[in-house]
Amino acid sequence: MTIKLRHALLVTTLILFATPAITPACAQNAPGITDTEIKIGQTMPYTGPVTAFSTLGKGEIAYFKMINDRGGINGRKINLISLDDGYAPPKTVEQTRRLVEQEGVAFMFSSIGTATNTAVQRYLNSAKVPQLYIGSGASKFGNYKEFPYTIGGIQGTFRAEARIYARYILKEKPNAKIAILYQNDDYGRDYVAGVKDILGDKYASMVKEATYEFTDATIDSQIVSLQGAGADALIVAATPKFAAQAIRKVYDISWKPMFFLSNVAIWVSTVLEPAGIEKAVGIISSVYVKDPTDTGWDNDPGMKEWKAWITKYMPEVDPRDQNYVNSYNEGMVLVQALKQAGNNLSRENILKEALNIKDMQLPMMLPGIKVNTSPTDYYPIEEMQMMRWSGKQWVRFGDLLSGSL
């Protein structure tokens, strides 16, 4: 201990003496960038209440493995350091600072969670470390005036989705009485905000709201009271467990509203099967990626490429998990941005190119939906297509719809 301490003292003294001699570095490559490596970081909920989401990080690691096997980007391999934050904001702060200050990563990429990303947003922006393509559909991550280093993920935002549903209701059922059941957090409230964007002054007279907490046991009473209010259209912004409960309860009390379901809860195995697939017939949702379980894509070159990747790099996983599609998309857009940045890999230039993605068509995105970013557009995806559950599968219908105002 004393020897260590003496060393520490010695080092400190040397640093103090050396300080005036250090010249400010001119604009050059970001930390974590060498001639052979691009070191980047992220936080993932590998433990805690939502470990299921962490497949996004595993998928991204596997995607970069493929890129590296093919020689990397301009000879540089991507080294993604993915740390556990247990979905707890204080832990996210600690791990993010570890990545930035200790590991010296060039930037943060695709960390998951709304509260967790919010917790480090100020830190990363004041340290001028890009917080790229984050794993949350919350619309707050695109506020470039206040947080120019934070860019939303390669996924449609909840708010855009809600706007699409509200427009559809106004077109199909102009006099509808709308019920919204939402989770009482950023995720659920974005749906309320989106519907408000479209309805404006009419919101108060047309909409009846009900909320639940992530920790509640059931939402049965909310469903019953919404039916009792005379609603004939229902928007459910719920996570899978509650979505399944909502589908079953609506069916059981013989309520037949025009039923919209948030696209985070459209999974057959975790939502529709537990609720009863026949009880969900007619439910409307939306989509922007290709669904690997949809046999209609079997001969699609993009899908074939994706399947080849997952068979080679992640043979042990359940390919029905949509996060493996999302991770593929996220990784692909980042690689494009880094390619555009070429050999000028300063944080400023990486951010600039991450905001300079033009009309990029991803192989696993629905045809026609393109990734676009600009210094005034921090939402990479804004279009979706609606779909309806037939009892056997989701059937897409209508044109691509934009969720922007």
């Binding site: 204080p90 509260a115 480090v120 100020r122 409230r189 907490e213």
Partner: protein, 334 residues
């Protein structure tokens, strides 16, 4: 109070220090003060958290270790302290240093009030009711009517500041020293409190409530005060924790925080003042270490560590060190 204490009880109480121990503590403090100039800013962040956890654990130790009241809900007091800091900075514009005592007072009152119903509950029942408090905390923080102040589910940012008096220190370095100073004062206060007649009364209630009562100790009052002081410590830790994290939200203070605090208190050594420091080191570093060993089974590894520690050191790290110290002394004497 001239009570003849039983040997067991006397052993649990902090005694006056020998010259060696005093030197040790001073050396430790000197090292602790030098640290911010010798380590990277990230390690400094971790060490600041150790200091803060140590304060929180000391609070829990006073209640659970010395007074025998088990609390599974100290995360709630930590949260109250953190939110007091966040709200008074952001909404009232008060300087951060002046909020630390305010957070302490607020948590003392909250702890005292929570202690009132808890008086009727003992042992497992108290553990369960404090558990309920911990479970309810995130939802209470989301309460609509309070959203104007708490920021609801979105949480609230806590800004960073410059070091005072123009000191040439970064905010992180200053915050570490600031926390360390508060911790030193609180440790001294706890040591003073527990070695005096108050300490005897507190431990007597734990060991033999009926005997304590016959001695004329006002059990209800002492239990309430202990609850209040304990909550005050943990609340001050929470206030400092908010300054470090620069963000508070309901998800920051889940049941897991309360459980971690109890783990830290037990592993460090209950009924030991310095046990709080070891416990703090454990809950800060062992989860990270477990994560590095295996991402897939992090918590299994963590659990294994916990079991190993409890098996090898049933009286906590502090108790273990004490036994070793005794043996060395006996060998020297023989």
């Amino acid at each position: 109070m001239t009570v003849r204490t039983e040997p067991v009880m006397a052993a649990a109480l902090p005694k006056a220090w020998s010259a060696w121990q005093a030197t040790g503590v001073v050396a430790l403090l000197v090292i602790a003060v030098i640290v911010p100039f010798a380590v990277s800013s990230f390690h400094l962040l971790q060490l600041t958290m150790v200091v803060i956890y140590a304060i929180a654990l000391l609070g829990l130790n006073i209640l659970t270790g010395y007074n025998g009241q088990i609390s599974l809900g100290h995360g709630a007091f930590y949260a109250v302290g953190a939110y007091t800091m966040a709200i008074l900075i952001e909404r009232a514009g008060m300087p951060y240093w002046s909020i630390v005592p305010v957070a302490g007072i607020v948590c003392f009152i909250v702890g005292f009030l929570f202690g009132l119903p808890a008086l009727r509950l003992e042992g497992h029942y108290l553990a369960l009711s404090t558990f309920a408090l911990a479970v309810a905390t995130p939802q209470l923080l989301k309460f609509h009517a309070l959203e104007k102040w708490t920021g609801g589910v979105q949480g609230t940012f806590v800004p960073g500041f410059a070091a005072p008096l123009g000191l040439p220190l970064a905010w992180d370095q200053w915050l570490y020293l600031f926390s360390l100073g508060i911790a030193a004062a609180l440790f001294f206060f706890a040591w003073n409190l527990l070695r005096g007649s108050t300490g005897i009364a507190i431990t007597a209630i734990r060991d033999h409530p009926i005997a304590a009562k016959t001695m004329g100790i006002n059990i209800s009052l002492y239990k309430l005060l202990t609850f209040g002081v304990s909550a005050m410590y943990t609340g001050i830790a929470g206030a400092l924790g908010a300054l470090v994290a620069q963000f508070v939200s309901p998800d920051s203070f889940t049941i897991f925080l309360s459980l971690s605090l109890l783990v830290g208190a037990v592993i460090g050594g209950v009924a030991s003042i310095f046990g709080a420091i070891f416990g703090a080191l454990f809950i800060q570093f062992v989860p990270n270490f477990a994560d590095q060993i295996s991402k897939a089974v992090t918590w299994a590894v963590y659990g294994l560590f916990m079991i190993t520690f409890m098996y090898l050191m049933p009286n906590g790290i502090a108790g273990f060190l004490k036994v070793i110290g005794e043996r060395l002394r006996r060998r020297r004497n023989s």
